[in-house]
Subunit: 306 residues, 3 copies
């Protein structure tokens, strides 16, 4: 039995299979409409995340399966002092597969060690959020047609954003990827990512403080939120924040076939005027998130459709 | 694609069709038991309303469909600052139809403007609650056999009650309706309703401070809550509150075929002794609420059963 | 129509039938996978209890039925002052059966008096939790092969634990049961249980302050939590708490076929090292809880499978 803890749990070959399955689901959803009839997904959300929870639930229902669970810690047994290990042993008696979101890093890993059903890490603190990375990979492969030979700009809070770190590690496994990191000084990509992941493998990257300077080179622009509380002082925040707001003016500098991605929710780092640009891919990304979660559930449950 | 924002969105003819469908559902529920197989209703409740949420969910499950969503704002992405527009774009990727309850007037309208799935307004602040009005209309038509030629008394808080305002506007479209407004001075029906809706169309109405005075004339008595905090001073509240509590003694003054309605929840404005009176229709009203929501979901999803 | 308020609602013969049905469900789950197709269970939890709620929901989904409801009072109409009686009349229009958890003793009983659907008491304050007792009986019968001729040790908080009181009353109806009560002085089994239930029927029991003293005699050890706040002073708590922590050393004194049960959640009264002992039955107990709730739903809905 397999769990999903990190996006790197799958080899590149396994990932290809998963993404192939997701693409087939996109083309032929009716083929999969009863693939999980009678099966149950438990969503164990120790902190709220409507977006992720509903994506998993939509995925399971699209497969004909049932859903149940809890959406915040107050309504769970955790309030009575039960360990995650004991909770997952209980859930193993109730469900066929579960998705766990937890504020503490490693909680899903602890759960997977004693679980008798597949556990999917649906986000553990600032650590991992593997289904977001799978979503990003499927979006890129679907809209750009490939996962290699790409120049990808990552913009915003590159210091704390687990989404960005995971995506860099995941894309680093493909050929001829160039990373361009766009952020204020305070929110630069950590040196351990640059050294251990990129330099160690000879993967090219550059850093920039302004979107405009690098926009024409990008095949993909991956936007993330810049939170005011991350800055050391308000003056820096005010000086820099507009640099990281994407608008139509900046979009004019980009390639015609560039795509803009965002893990959402967005606050104001992408101006709503960009939504109508055909290169805005962030809402389509949500849809790919459902397909890839459907593929993941099928894979972990080892459901084979002839 | 259609949404439902206000009970007046449907013409009288369209409403007739909807109520006909609801009545057919009541008679032949089995015909509709799989009408929405594989479809998903998202209940997006930014404030709790168990009654309305469960009614929608029961309706969708009676049609064979699936349900998911959230039941309060804390467990939604709104806490992360996401706009209603962005949330509905996400939900459009997950669900086939949604019911939205929101404390802010107009939020469902904003959602409907960008949604790619039908949006049902399940109550927006003090503004609209169209499925309550549809429920009221179905209840009246089912139990009285008609929507015209009726004398309807509306009793309680007529100043702030959106349910009452909506019902008045909806019934004003039918022939030979007489309204009798029963309320304390402080909670009288607003003059814009009297002038713009009733007088403008020559619809007869009268106002009364006491149920007893008008009871014998009524075909329908529509009760609502009188909340103490609405009164300017406690003396008035104490003087008046009993006037607006329906009991068996007052019921003796009514016609034998009058019906008592109430949008529920009731607190104490209808004495529990009235529950056993065959004219008490407020719990049957709940059941009609399920049928009319089933009809509404089928209509908005354009499901046709041959 | 029947409800379930107390584990003693069923006669010993009816209970046998229920447990037989639960055992058949365990052996042939596929036979029951569509027994409740199109039916709806409402879980009305006025206080959170993830374990119990998810067990009911898993049970209903295993039968092909649908689930909905609320998981805490804040998201229910109770916040608007609606009575339990009115709420259940509403739910009767929505669901086919319901499970109610309520902090107030007797609330499910009040509901059952006006309900037109079966009501299951899923725990009412410190009063009753009948499906826990049914779970315990099924676990004992399944793992020990009988409900008579047993020596059962009940350990921990025997004063306040409703689970223990219910189980004593339920087992007292079978032949040749011996009870051994293991607790600190402050948390001894109440005298009304000893006098009214045991002595009145001539059922043998003994009391002990230490697990070790009685361990070799037990067929079943039923553990419960000892909460520090139950003690009169901290010195007593510190002196006694280790007496009531089950570990491998104490397990060495027990029979080879003894079983350890616990209603869960456990905090630290059973050391995790015991989990691997084949006599540890508390997680299997969770699974039996699903089977017995499936049998209960089928029984109350009077579903007959030919």
């Amino acid at each position: 039995m397999r769990h999903l803890m990190s996006p790197l749990d799958f080899s590149v070959e396994e990932l290809d299979q998963l993404l192939d399955l997701a693409s087939d689901i996109e083309k032929h959803p009716e083929k999969y409409a009863h693939a999980c009839d009678g099966k149950k997904l438990a969503t164990l959300f120790y902190e709220p995340s409507t977006r992720t929870r509903l994506s998993f639930e939509a995925a399971m229902m699209n497969l004909g399966g049932n859903i149940f669970g809890f959406s915040s810690a107050e309504s769970s047994s955790a309030a009575k002092g039960e360990s995650v290990s004991d909770t997952i042993r209980m859930i193993s008696c109730y469900a066929d597969i579960c998705a766990m979101r937890h504020p503490k890093e490693g909680a899903p890993m602890v759960a997977s060690a004693v679980s008798s059903i597949p556990v999917i890490n649906a986000g553990d603190g600032g650590h991992q959020h593997p289904t977001q990375t799978l979503t990003d990979l499927l979006t890129i492969r679907s809209l750009k047609g490939r996962l290699d030979n790409l120049t990808i700009g990552l913009c915003g809070d590159l210091k704390f954003g687990r989404t960005v770190h995971s995506l860099v590690r995941a894309l680093a496994r493909y050929k001829n990827i160039t990373f361009i990191f766009i952020s204020p000084e305070e929110l630069k990509i950590p040196s351990y990512i640059k050294e251990d992941v990129l330099e160690a493998q000879g993967i090219p990257y550059q850093e920039s403080e302004r979107i405009e300077d690098v926009m024409p080179d990008l095949d993909i622009l991956y936007m993330t939120r810049v939170q005011q509380e991350r800055f050391f002082n308000e003056a820096d925040y005010i000086r820099l924040k507009d640099f990281y707001i994407l608008n139509n003016k900046k979009m004019k500098l980009a390639k015609e076939d560039m795509i803009v991605m965002h893990p959402l929710p967005r606050v104001n780092e992408i101006s709503v005027e960009v939504d109508k640009d055909p290169r805005a891919a962030y809402f389509r990304q949500v849809q790919y998130g459902v397909y890839v979660r459907m593929a993941l559930i099928l894979t972990l449950l080892e459901v084979n459709l002839c």
